[in-house]
Protein backbone atom coordinates (compact mmCIF):
# COMPACT_ATOMS: atom_id res chain seq x y z
CA UNK A 1 0.00 0.00 0.00
CA UNK A 2 1.52 3.32 -1.06
CA UNK A 3 -0.89 5.54 0.83
CA UNK A 4 -3.01 4.46 3.74
CA UNK A 5 -5.27 6.92 5.52
CA UNK A 6 -7.05 5.74 8.64
CA UNK A 7 -9.75 7.57 10.60
CA UNK A 8 -8.65 10.94 9.26
CA UNK A 9 -10.35 13.87 10.95
CA UNK A 10 -9.85 17.54 10.16
CA UNK A 11 -11.36 20.42 12.07
CA UNK A 12 -11.69 24.05 11.05
CA UNK A 13 -12.25 25.71 14.37
CA UNK A 14 -15.32 23.96 15.67
CA UNK A 15 -16.39 22.51 12.34
CA UNK A 16 -15.57 18.91 11.50
CA UNK A 17 -14.77 19.12 7.81
CA UNK A 18 -13.53 15.54 7.49
CA UNK A 19 -15.16 13.02 9.79
CA UNK A 20 -12.90 10.04 10.18
CA UNK A 21 -12.38 8.68 6.69
CA UNK A 22 -10.37 5.68 5.53
CA UNK A 23 -8.69 5.79 2.16
CA UNK A 24 -6.13 3.63 0.42
CA UNK A 25 -4.09 3.99 -2.72
CA UNK A 26 -2.17 1.05 -4.11
CA UNK A 27 1.14 1.45 -5.95
CA UNK A 28 0.43 2.19 -9.63
CA UNK A 29 -3.23 2.94 -9.13
CA UNK A 30 -5.22 5.93 -10.31
CA UNK A 31 -7.77 6.62 -7.62
CA UNK A 32 -10.28 9.43 -7.76
CA UNK A 33 -12.04 11.22 -4.98
CA UNK A 34 -15.27 12.79 -6.14
CA UNK A 35 -18.05 14.69 -4.47
CA UNK A 36 -19.86 17.99 -4.34
CA UNK A 37 -18.46 21.35 -3.33
CA UNK A 38 -17.66 21.42 0.35
CA UNK A 39 -17.67 17.65 0.76
CA UNK A 40 -14.13 17.75 2.18
CA UNK A 41 -12.12 16.53 -0.82
CA UNK A 42 -9.58 19.35 -0.87
CA UNK A 43 -9.38 19.31 2.90
CA UNK A 44 -8.50 15.61 2.75
CA UNK A 45 -5.70 16.24 0.24
CA UNK A 46 -4.36 19.15 2.26
CA UNK A 47 -4.31 16.99 5.37
CA UNK A 48 -2.40 14.26 3.54
CA UNK A 49 0.18 16.87 2.50
CA UNK A 50 0.32 18.14 6.06
CA UNK A 51 -0.91 21.59 5.10
CA UNK A 52 -3.64 21.09 7.69
CA UNK A 53 -3.35 19.52 11.11
CA UNK A 54 -5.45 16.38 11.51
CA UNK A 55 -6.03 13.43 13.74
CA UNK A 56 -5.96 9.84 12.60
CA UNK A 57 -3.16 8.11 10.81
CA UNK A 58 -1.57 8.76 7.44
CA UNK A 59 0.98 6.23 6.24
CA UNK A 60 2.93 6.76 3.07
CA UNK A 61 5.26 4.13 1.59
CA UNK A 62 5.19 2.27 4.87
CA UNK A 63 6.11 5.19 7.11
CA UNK A 64 3.87 7.29 9.30
CA UNK A 65 3.80 10.84 7.97
CA UNK A 66 1.17 12.17 10.36
CA UNK A 67 3.80 14.30 12.07
CA UNK A 68 5.85 15.13 8.97
CA UNK A 69 6.49 18.67 7.80
CA UNK A 70 5.01 19.90 4.51
CA UNK A 71 8.37 20.39 2.85
CA UNK A 72 9.68 16.93 3.77
CA UNK A 73 7.13 15.06 1.66
CA UNK A 74 8.23 16.00 -1.89
CA UNK A 75 11.64 14.56 -1.03
CA UNK A 76 9.89 11.23 -0.41
CA UNK A 77 8.02 11.44 -3.69
CA UNK A 78 4.67 12.70 -2.41
CA UNK A 79 3.70 15.82 -4.34
CA UNK A 80 0.49 17.79 -4.64
CA UNK A 81 -0.74 20.03 -7.44
CA UNK A 82 -2.92 22.39 -5.44
CA UNK A 83 -6.36 23.63 -6.30
CA UNK A 84 -6.17 26.81 -8.35
CA UNK A 85 -2.79 25.65 -9.71
CA UNK A 86 -0.59 27.67 -7.35
CA UNK A 87 1.99 28.64 -9.89
CA UNK A 88 4.45 31.38 -8.94
CA UNK A 89 3.04 34.18 -11.10
CA UNK A 90 6.12 36.40 -11.16
CA UNK A 91 8.61 33.63 -11.90
CA UNK A 92 9.22 32.50 -15.46
CA UNK A 93 8.04 29.12 -16.70
CA UNK A 94 11.61 27.88 -16.42
CA UNK A 95 11.96 29.13 -12.85
CA UNK A 96 8.65 27.54 -11.89
CA UNK A 97 9.91 24.22 -13.20
CA UNK A 98 13.22 24.72 -11.40
CA UNK A 99 11.28 25.08 -8.15
CA UNK A 100 9.69 21.71 -8.86
CA UNK A 101 13.19 20.27 -9.10
CA UNK A 102 14.29 22.10 -5.94
CA UNK A 103 14.53 18.98 -3.81
CA UNK A 104 16.49 17.08 -6.44
CA UNK A 105 18.83 19.96 -7.16
CA UNK A 106 19.05 18.99 -10.80
CA UNK A 107 16.94 20.79 -13.39
CA UNK A 108 16.25 18.82 -16.56
CA UNK A 109 13.04 20.20 -17.93
CA UNK A 110 13.36 18.58 -21.37
CA UNK A 111 11.10 15.68 -20.48
CA UNK A 112 8.36 18.04 -19.33
CA UNK A 113 8.84 20.16 -22.43
CA UNK A 114 8.36 17.02 -24.52
CA UNK A 115 5.03 16.38 -22.82
CA UNK A 116 4.04 20.05 -22.84
CA UNK A 117 5.56 21.66 -25.97
CA UNK A 118 3.54 24.76 -25.22
CA UNK A 119 5.57 25.37 -22.09
CA UNK A 120 8.81 25.14 -24.03
CA UNK A 121 7.64 27.94 -26.32
CA UNK A 122 6.94 30.06 -23.28
CA UNK A 123 9.86 29.07 -21.10
CA UNK A 124 11.14 32.62 -20.54
CA UNK A 125 7.68 34.09 -20.09
CA UNK A 126 6.44 35.11 -16.66
CA UNK A 127 3.98 32.42 -15.53
CA UNK A 128 1.25 34.86 -14.52
CA UNK A 129 0.78 35.78 -18.18
CA UNK A 130 -0.07 32.20 -19.25
CA UNK A 131 -3.64 31.16 -19.96
CA UNK A 132 -5.52 29.08 -17.40
CA UNK A 133 -4.91 25.85 -19.25
CA UNK A 134 -1.22 26.60 -19.69
CA UNK A 135 -0.96 27.41 -16.01
CA UNK A 136 -2.50 24.05 -15.16
CA UNK A 137 -0.02 22.33 -17.48
CA UNK A 138 2.77 24.22 -15.78
CA UNK A 139 1.52 23.22 -12.35
CA UNK A 140 1.46 19.56 -13.37
CA UNK A 141 4.83 19.78 -15.14
CA UNK A 142 6.33 21.44 -12.09
CA UNK A 143 5.07 18.64 -9.85
CA UNK A 144 6.49 16.06 -12.28
CA UNK A 145 9.91 17.73 -11.99
CA UNK A 146 10.01 16.32 -8.46
CA UNK A 147 9.75 12.81 -9.97
CA UNK A 148 6.84 11.90 -7.71
CA UNK A 149 5.81 8.40 -6.72
CA UNK A 150 2.41 9.63 -5.62
CA UNK A 151 0.84 12.65 -7.26
CA UNK A 152 -2.13 14.35 -5.64
CA UNK A 153 -4.12 16.36 -8.17
CA UNK A 154 -6.67 18.80 -6.81
CA UNK A 155 -9.33 19.72 -9.38
CA UNK A 156 -7.04 20.00 -12.39
CA UNK A 157 -9.98 20.71 -14.71
CA UNK A 158 -11.43 23.54 -12.67
CA UNK A 159 -12.26 26.65 -14.66
CA UNK A 160 -10.91 25.34 -17.96
CA UNK A 161 -12.51 25.26 -21.39
CA UNK A 162 -13.87 21.82 -22.42
CA UNK A 163 -11.07 21.26 -24.94
CA UNK A 164 -8.48 22.01 -22.32
CA UNK A 165 -10.23 19.73 -19.83
CA UNK A 166 -9.94 16.87 -22.33
CA UNK A 167 -6.26 17.66 -22.84
CA UNK A 168 -5.58 17.73 -19.09
CA UNK A 169 -7.29 14.37 -18.60
CA UNK A 170 -5.22 12.97 -21.45
CA UNK A 171 -2.10 14.18 -19.66
CA UNK A 172 -3.23 12.59 -16.40
CA UNK A 173 -3.75 9.31 -18.23
CA UNK A 174 -0.25 9.57 -19.73
CA UNK A 175 1.34 10.24 -16.36
CA UNK A 176 -0.48 7.27 -14.85
CA UNK A 177 0.79 5.11 -17.69
CA UNK A 178 4.37 6.09 -16.82
CA UNK A 179 3.80 4.40 -13.48
CA UNK A 180 3.07 7.41 -11.30
CA UNK A 181 0.41 6.65 -8.72
CA UNK A 182 -2.29 9.29 -8.74
CA UNK A 183 -4.94 10.42 -6.31
CA UNK A 184 -7.25 12.69 -8.26
CA UNK A 185 -9.80 15.01 -6.74
CA UNK A 186 -12.44 16.05 -9.24
CA UNK A 187 -15.87 17.53 -9.51
CA UNK A 188 -16.17 16.25 -13.04
CA UNK A 189 -17.17 12.81 -11.78
CA UNK A 190 -17.75 11.12 -15.11
CA UNK A 191 -14.39 12.01 -16.62
CA UNK A 192 -12.64 11.10 -13.40
CA UNK A 193 -14.34 7.72 -13.09
CA UNK A 194 -13.70 6.89 -16.72
CA UNK A 195 -10.02 7.45 -16.11
CA UNK A 196 -9.61 5.91 -12.66
CA UNK A 197 -9.26 2.35 -11.43
CA UNK A 198 -11.08 3.01 -8.22
CA UNK A 199 -13.06 5.83 -6.71
CA UNK A 200 -14.29 7.24 -3.44
CA UNK A 201 -17.37 9.41 -3.22
CA UNK A 202 -17.32 11.96 -0.42
CA UNK A 203 -20.41 13.51 1.10
CA UNK A 204 -20.26 16.07 3.90
CA UNK A 205 -16.94 14.95 5.27
CA UNK A 206 -17.42 11.19 5.03
CA UNK A 207 -16.96 8.50 2.40
CA UNK A 208 -20.44 7.69 1.10
CA UNK A 209 -19.58 5.06 -1.50
CA UNK A 210 -16.37 3.50 -2.72
CA UNK A 211 -15.37 0.80 -5.11
CA UNK A 212 -14.05 0.15 -8.58
CA UNK A 213 -14.58 2.99 -11.00
CA UNK A 214 -16.73 0.73 -13.13
CA UNK A 215 -19.05 -0.19 -10.31
CA UNK A 216 -19.37 3.47 -9.31
CA UNK A 217 -20.27 4.46 -12.86
CA UNK A 218 -23.13 1.99 -12.60
CA UNK A 219 -24.13 2.75 -9.04
CA UNK A 220 -27.64 4.20 -9.01
CA UNK A 221 -26.95 6.74 -6.29
CA UNK A 222 -23.75 7.97 -7.91
CA UNK A 223 -25.50 8.17 -11.26
CA UNK A 224 -28.23 10.30 -9.87
CA UNK A 225 -26.18 12.59 -7.67
CA UNK A 226 -22.98 13.01 -9.66
CA UNK A 227 -23.39 11.84 -13.21
CA UNK A 228 -26.56 13.74 -13.93
CA UNK A 229 -28.60 10.68 -14.88
CA UNK A 230 -32.01 9.86 -13.52
CA UNK A 231 -32.10 6.73 -11.40
CA UNK A 232 -33.67 3.98 -13.43
Amino acid sequence: MLLEVKALEVHYGGIRAVKGIDLEVEQGELVCLIGANGAGKTTTLKAICRLLPSSGKIAYAGSDITRAKVHELPRQGLVMVPEGRGIFPQLTVEENLAMGAYVRGRVDAERQYATFPRLKERRTQVAGTLSGGEQQMLAIARALMTEPKLLLLDEPSMGLAPMMVARIFEVVREIAKRGVTILLVEQNARLALELAHRGYVMESGAIAVSGSAKSLLEDARVKEAYLGEAAS
Partner: protein, 324 residues
Protein backbone atom coordinates in the same frame (compact mmCIF):
# COMPACT_ATOMS: atom_id res chain seq x y z
CA UNK B 1 28.33 73.90 -10.44
CA UNK B 2 30.98 72.94 -7.92
CA UNK B 3 28.33 72.55 -5.24
CA UNK B 4 26.29 70.41 -7.56
CA UNK B 5 29.10 68.00 -8.44
CA UNK B 6 30.37 67.84 -4.90
CA UNK B 7 26.92 67.13 -3.51
CA UNK B 8 26.37 64.49 -6.19
CA UNK B 9 29.52 62.71 -5.03
CA UNK B 10 28.48 62.99 -1.39
CA UNK B 11 24.91 62.00 -2.19
CA UNK B 12 25.90 58.94 -4.17
CA UNK B 13 28.15 57.80 -1.35
CA UNK B 14 25.53 58.18 1.36
CA UNK B 15 22.85 56.89 -1.02
CA UNK B 16 24.70 53.68 -1.75
CA UNK B 17 24.85 53.01 2.00
CA UNK B 18 21.11 53.76 2.30
CA UNK B 19 20.51 51.37 -0.57
CA UNK B 20 22.36 48.53 1.17
CA UNK B 21 20.37 49.14 4.36
CA UNK B 22 17.12 49.49 2.39
CA UNK B 23 17.71 46.02 0.93
CA UNK B 24 17.35 44.58 4.42
CA UNK B 25 13.94 46.20 4.82
CA UNK B 26 12.69 45.31 1.39
CA UNK B 27 13.83 41.67 1.40
CA UNK B 28 12.08 40.98 4.68
CA UNK B 29 8.96 42.85 3.59
CA UNK B 30 8.95 41.00 0.29
CA UNK B 31 8.97 37.62 1.94
CA UNK B 32 6.79 38.03 5.06
CA UNK B 33 5.21 41.48 4.60
CA UNK B 34 6.79 42.71 7.81
CA UNK B 35 8.41 46.11 8.17
CA UNK B 36 11.30 45.14 10.39
CA UNK B 37 11.77 48.35 12.31
CA UNK B 38 14.64 46.75 14.20
CA UNK B 39 16.78 46.61 11.07
CA UNK B 40 18.27 50.06 11.76
CA UNK B 41 19.45 48.72 15.11
CA UNK B 42 21.22 45.85 13.37
CA UNK B 43 23.12 48.46 11.35
CA UNK B 44 23.99 50.28 14.57
CA UNK B 45 25.24 47.08 16.19
CA UNK B 46 27.38 46.46 13.13
CA UNK B 47 28.98 49.87 13.53
CA UNK B 48 29.43 49.42 17.28
CA UNK B 49 31.02 45.98 17.05
CA UNK B 50 33.40 47.20 14.38
CA UNK B 51 34.19 50.24 16.54
CA UNK B 52 35.14 48.04 19.51
CA UNK B 53 37.19 45.61 17.45
CA UNK B 54 39.02 48.38 15.61
CA UNK B 55 39.83 50.20 18.87
CA UNK B 56 41.07 46.94 20.32
CA UNK B 57 43.35 46.26 17.38
CA UNK B 58 44.76 49.75 16.79
CA UNK B 59 47.64 49.26 19.28
CA UNK B 60 48.54 45.93 17.68
CA UNK B 61 50.29 47.65 14.81
CA UNK B 62 48.47 45.68 12.13
CA UNK B 63 48.03 47.48 8.81
CA UNK B 64 45.00 49.81 9.04
CA UNK B 65 43.15 48.15 6.20
CA UNK B 66 43.49 44.75 7.86
CA UNK B 67 42.15 46.19 11.12
CA UNK B 68 39.06 47.60 9.43
CA UNK B 69 38.51 44.34 7.57
CA UNK B 70 38.75 42.35 10.80
CA UNK B 71 36.31 44.82 12.38
CA UNK B 72 33.84 44.27 9.58
CA UNK B 73 34.59 40.54 9.68
CA UNK B 74 33.45 40.45 13.30
CA UNK B 75 30.46 42.76 12.80
CA UNK B 76 28.95 40.72 9.96
CA UNK B 77 28.55 37.36 11.75
CA UNK B 78 27.40 39.03 14.97
CA UNK B 79 24.73 40.99 13.11
CA UNK B 80 23.70 37.86 11.21
CA UNK B 81 23.22 36.16 14.55
CA UNK B 82 21.14 39.10 15.79
CA UNK B 83 19.09 38.99 12.59
CA UNK B 84 18.51 35.26 12.90
CA UNK B 85 17.74 35.59 16.59
CA UNK B 86 15.07 38.21 16.12
CA UNK B 87 13.38 36.20 13.40
CA UNK B 88 13.48 32.99 15.39
CA UNK B 89 12.49 34.41 18.76
CA UNK B 90 10.33 37.42 17.97
CA UNK B 91 8.79 37.11 14.52
CA UNK B 92 8.40 33.40 13.79
CA UNK B 93 6.02 32.77 16.71
CA UNK B 94 3.87 35.59 15.31
CA UNK B 95 3.94 34.43 11.67
CA UNK B 96 0.20 33.78 11.63
CA UNK B 97 -0.79 36.50 14.04
CA UNK B 98 -2.66 39.62 12.90
CA UNK B 99 -0.37 41.98 11.03
CA UNK B 100 -0.08 44.60 13.73
CA UNK B 101 1.36 42.15 16.26
CA UNK B 102 4.69 41.55 14.49
CA UNK B 103 4.89 45.22 13.53
CA UNK B 104 4.63 46.34 17.15
CA UNK B 105 7.01 43.53 18.10
CA UNK B 106 9.51 44.97 15.62
CA UNK B 107 9.37 48.29 17.42
CA UNK B 108 9.88 46.42 20.68
CA UNK B 109 12.88 44.52 19.31
CA UNK B 110 14.30 47.83 18.14
CA UNK B 111 14.02 49.33 21.63
CA UNK B 112 15.53 46.22 23.23
CA UNK B 113 18.52 46.24 20.87
CA UNK B 114 19.08 49.98 21.41
CA UNK B 115 19.18 49.51 25.13
CA UNK B 116 21.46 46.53 24.98
CA UNK B 117 23.79 48.72 22.94
CA UNK B 118 23.38 51.51 25.48
CA UNK B 119 24.49 49.15 28.25
CA UNK B 120 27.50 47.88 26.32
CA UNK B 121 28.73 51.04 24.59
CA UNK B 122 27.33 53.81 26.82
CA UNK B 123 25.29 56.76 25.67
CA UNK B 124 28.27 58.76 24.46
CA UNK B 125 28.95 59.61 20.87
CA UNK B 126 31.91 57.42 20.03
CA UNK B 127 34.58 58.72 17.71
CA UNK B 128 35.23 56.11 15.09
CA UNK B 129 39.00 55.80 14.81
CA UNK B 130 40.06 57.26 11.47
CA UNK B 131 42.95 54.96 10.83
CA UNK B 132 42.77 54.74 7.08
CA UNK B 133 44.60 57.74 5.66
CA UNK B 134 42.20 59.54 3.36
CA UNK B 135 43.36 61.11 0.12
CA UNK B 136 41.24 63.31 -2.06
CA UNK B 137 41.03 63.24 -5.82
CA UNK B 138 39.53 66.08 -7.81
CA UNK B 139 37.21 65.59 -10.70
CA UNK B 140 35.76 68.69 -12.33
CA UNK B 141 35.88 70.75 -9.18
CA UNK B 142 34.50 68.07 -6.85
CA UNK B 143 36.63 66.21 -4.35
CA UNK B 144 36.21 62.49 -3.83
CA UNK B 145 38.06 60.75 -1.03
CA UNK B 146 39.51 57.25 -1.03
CA UNK B 147 36.93 56.32 1.61
CA UNK B 148 34.10 57.50 -0.62
CA UNK B 149 35.49 55.49 -3.51
CA UNK B 150 35.77 52.45 -1.27
CA UNK B 151 32.22 52.89 0.02
CA UNK B 152 30.82 53.22 -3.50
CA UNK B 153 32.77 50.19 -4.70
CA UNK B 154 31.79 48.00 -1.74
CA UNK B 155 28.12 48.99 -1.85
CA UNK B 156 27.74 48.43 -5.57
CA UNK B 157 29.58 45.12 -5.30
CA UNK B 158 27.24 44.02 -2.50
CA UNK B 159 24.18 45.05 -4.49
CA UNK B 160 25.39 43.23 -7.58
CA UNK B 161 26.12 40.08 -5.57
CA UNK B 162 22.71 40.18 -3.96
CA UNK B 163 21.03 40.65 -7.33
CA UNK B 164 22.89 37.62 -8.68
CA UNK B 165 21.96 35.59 -5.61
CA UNK B 166 18.28 36.51 -5.81
CA UNK B 167 17.82 36.31 -9.56
CA UNK B 168 20.31 33.65 -10.65
CA UNK B 169 20.56 30.95 -7.99
CA UNK B 170 18.16 28.24 -6.80
CA UNK B 171 18.19 29.74 -3.30
CA UNK B 172 17.22 33.13 -4.71
CA UNK B 173 14.47 31.61 -6.82
CA UNK B 174 13.23 29.80 -3.72
CA UNK B 175 13.19 33.13 -1.89
CA UNK B 176 11.10 34.71 -4.63
CA UNK B 177 8.83 31.67 -4.79
CA UNK B 178 8.29 31.81 -1.03
CA UNK B 179 7.49 35.51 -1.29
CA UNK B 180 4.83 34.83 -3.92
CA UNK B 181 3.18 31.79 -2.42
CA UNK B 182 4.66 30.30 0.76
CA UNK B 183 2.19 27.43 0.93
CA UNK B 184 2.97 26.16 -2.55
CA UNK B 185 6.68 26.76 -1.99
CA UNK B 186 6.36 24.33 0.91
CA UNK B 187 4.61 21.82 -1.35
CA UNK B 188 7.61 22.02 -3.70
CA UNK B 189 9.85 20.90 -0.85
CA UNK B 190 11.15 24.34 0.07
CA UNK B 191 11.62 24.70 3.81
CA UNK B 192 10.10 28.15 4.08
CA UNK B 193 11.27 28.68 7.66
CA UNK B 194 14.80 28.22 6.45
CA UNK B 195 14.31 30.55 3.49
CA UNK B 196 12.84 33.24 5.74
CA UNK B 197 15.71 32.84 8.22
CA UNK B 198 18.22 33.13 5.37
CA UNK B 199 16.49 36.33 4.24
CA UNK B 200 16.90 37.86 7.68
CA UNK B 201 20.52 36.70 7.88
CA UNK B 202 21.39 38.17 4.48
CA UNK B 203 19.69 41.46 5.29
CA UNK B 204 21.49 41.67 8.63
CA UNK B 205 24.84 40.89 7.00
CA UNK B 206 24.30 43.70 4.51
CA UNK B 207 23.23 45.96 7.37
CA UNK B 208 26.42 45.17 9.29
CA UNK B 209 28.62 46.19 6.37
CA UNK B 210 26.54 49.34 5.93
CA UNK B 211 27.04 50.14 9.61
CA UNK B 212 30.80 49.81 9.37
CA UNK B 213 30.85 51.98 6.23
CA UNK B 214 28.61 54.57 7.82
CA UNK B 215 30.78 54.74 10.93
CA UNK B 216 33.93 55.03 8.87
CA UNK B 217 32.41 57.69 6.64
CA UNK B 218 30.99 60.00 9.28
CA UNK B 219 33.57 59.10 11.90
CA UNK B 220 31.03 58.69 14.68
CA UNK B 221 28.80 56.02 16.16
CA UNK B 222 26.15 56.16 18.84
CA UNK B 223 23.56 53.75 20.14
CA UNK B 224 20.76 55.83 18.61
CA UNK B 225 22.30 56.10 15.15
CA UNK B 226 20.19 53.21 13.90
CA UNK B 227 16.85 54.93 14.17
CA UNK B 228 17.38 57.86 11.81
CA UNK B 229 19.53 55.81 9.45
CA UNK B 230 16.93 53.05 9.56
CA UNK B 231 14.08 55.43 8.88
CA UNK B 232 15.91 56.93 5.95
CA UNK B 233 16.67 53.52 4.50
CA UNK B 234 13.04 52.55 5.05
CA UNK B 235 12.01 55.71 3.18
CA UNK B 236 14.38 54.67 0.41
CA UNK B 237 12.76 51.22 0.26
CA UNK B 238 9.30 52.82 0.07
CA UNK B 239 10.53 55.23 -2.60
CA UNK B 240 11.70 52.33 -4.74
CA UNK B 241 8.64 50.22 -3.97
CA UNK B 242 8.81 48.14 -0.80
CA UNK B 243 9.36 44.47 -1.47
CA UNK B 244 11.13 45.25 -4.72
CA UNK B 245 14.88 44.60 -4.64
CA UNK B 246 15.99 46.77 -7.59
CA UNK B 247 13.63 49.39 -6.18
CA UNK B 248 15.48 49.50 -2.87
CA UNK B 249 18.77 50.01 -4.68
CA UNK B 250 17.38 52.79 -6.85
CA UNK B 251 15.48 54.35 -3.96
CA UNK B 252 18.55 54.39 -1.72
CA UNK B 253 20.79 56.07 -4.27
CA UNK B 254 18.09 58.58 -5.25
CA UNK B 255 17.35 59.43 -1.65
CA UNK B 256 21.03 60.04 -0.94
CA UNK B 257 21.30 62.35 -3.93
CA UNK B 258 18.10 64.26 -3.11
CA UNK B 259 19.24 64.68 0.45
CA UNK B 260 22.72 65.90 -0.51
CA UNK B 261 21.46 68.31 -3.15
CA UNK B 262 18.80 69.55 -0.77
CA UNK B 263 21.36 70.15 1.94
CA UNK B 264 23.65 71.82 -0.59
CA UNK B 265 21.12 74.29 -1.88
CA UNK B 266 18.65 74.85 0.93
CA UNK B 267 20.85 77.63 2.34
CA UNK B 268 20.93 79.51 -0.96
CA UNK B 269 17.21 79.18 -1.48
CA UNK B 270 16.21 80.27 1.97
CA UNK B 271 18.58 83.23 2.13
CA UNK B 272 16.26 86.10 3.01
CA UNK B 273 18.79 88.62 1.70
CA UNK B 274 18.72 87.02 -1.73
CA UNK B 275 14.94 87.57 -1.72
CA UNK B 276 15.58 91.30 -1.49
CA UNK B 277 14.33 91.78 2.05
CA UNK B 278 16.10 94.81 3.54
CA UNK B 279 17.54 93.45 6.76
CA UNK B 280 20.40 94.83 8.76
CA UNK B 281 22.22 91.52 8.36
CA UNK B 282 22.17 91.82 4.61
CA UNK B 283 24.20 95.00 4.42
CA UNK B 284 27.50 94.63 2.65
CA UNK B 285 26.67 91.29 1.02
CA UNK B 286 25.67 89.54 4.26
CA UNK B 287 23.26 86.61 4.41
CA UNK B 288 20.32 85.68 6.57
CA UNK B 289 19.65 82.00 6.03
CA UNK B 290 16.40 80.57 7.38
CA UNK B 291 17.22 76.90 6.95
CA UNK B 292 20.80 75.70 6.80
CA UNK B 293 22.23 72.38 5.72
CA UNK B 294 21.51 71.05 9.21
CA UNK B 295 17.99 70.54 7.86
CA UNK B 296 19.41 67.76 5.70
CA UNK B 297 17.34 65.02 7.39
CA UNK B 298 14.12 66.77 6.40
CA UNK B 299 14.55 65.81 2.77
CA UNK B 300 14.42 62.08 3.28
CA UNK B 301 11.11 62.36 5.07
CA UNK B 302 9.79 64.92 2.62
CA UNK B 303 10.47 62.36 -0.08
CA UNK B 304 8.69 59.69 2.00
CA UNK B 305 5.61 61.89 2.37
CA UNK B 306 5.55 62.80 -1.32
CA UNK B 307 5.88 59.16 -2.37
CA UNK B 308 3.14 58.04 -0.01
CA UNK B 309 0.83 60.75 -1.32
CA UNK B 310 1.51 60.52 -5.02
CA UNK B 311 2.86 57.04 -5.71
CA UNK B 312 2.32 54.77 -2.70
CA UNK B 313 3.51 51.70 -4.58
CA UNK B 314 6.91 53.34 -5.09
CA UNK B 315 8.88 53.89 -8.28
CA UNK B 316 9.27 50.24 -9.27
CA UNK B 317 6.58 48.67 -7.12
CA UNK B 318 3.43 47.11 -8.46
CA UNK B 319 1.67 46.13 -5.30
CA UNK B 320 -0.16 48.88 -3.51
CA UNK B 321 0.61 48.68 0.17
CA UNK B 322 -2.72 48.14 1.83
CA UNK B 323 -1.12 46.45 4.77
CA UNK B 324 0.38 47.73 7.96
Amino acid sequence: MDTFLQQMVNGLTAGSVYAVVALGYTMVYGIIQLINFAHGEVVMIGAMVAFSVINLLVPSGLPPLAIVLIGAGCAVPICMLVGYGMERLAYRPLRHAPRLAPLITAIGVSIILQHIALMIWSRNILAFPQIIPSRSYFIGGAAITTIQIAILAICFMLMASLAILVYRTPLGTAMRATAQNPQVAGLMGIDINRVIAVTFILGAGLGAVAGVLFGTYYGIAQYTMGSVLGLKAFSAAVLGGIGNIPGAMLGGVLLGVVEALGAGYIGDFTDVCAWGVPLAACEGGGTFILFGSNYQDVFAFLVLILVLVFRPQGLLGERVGDRA
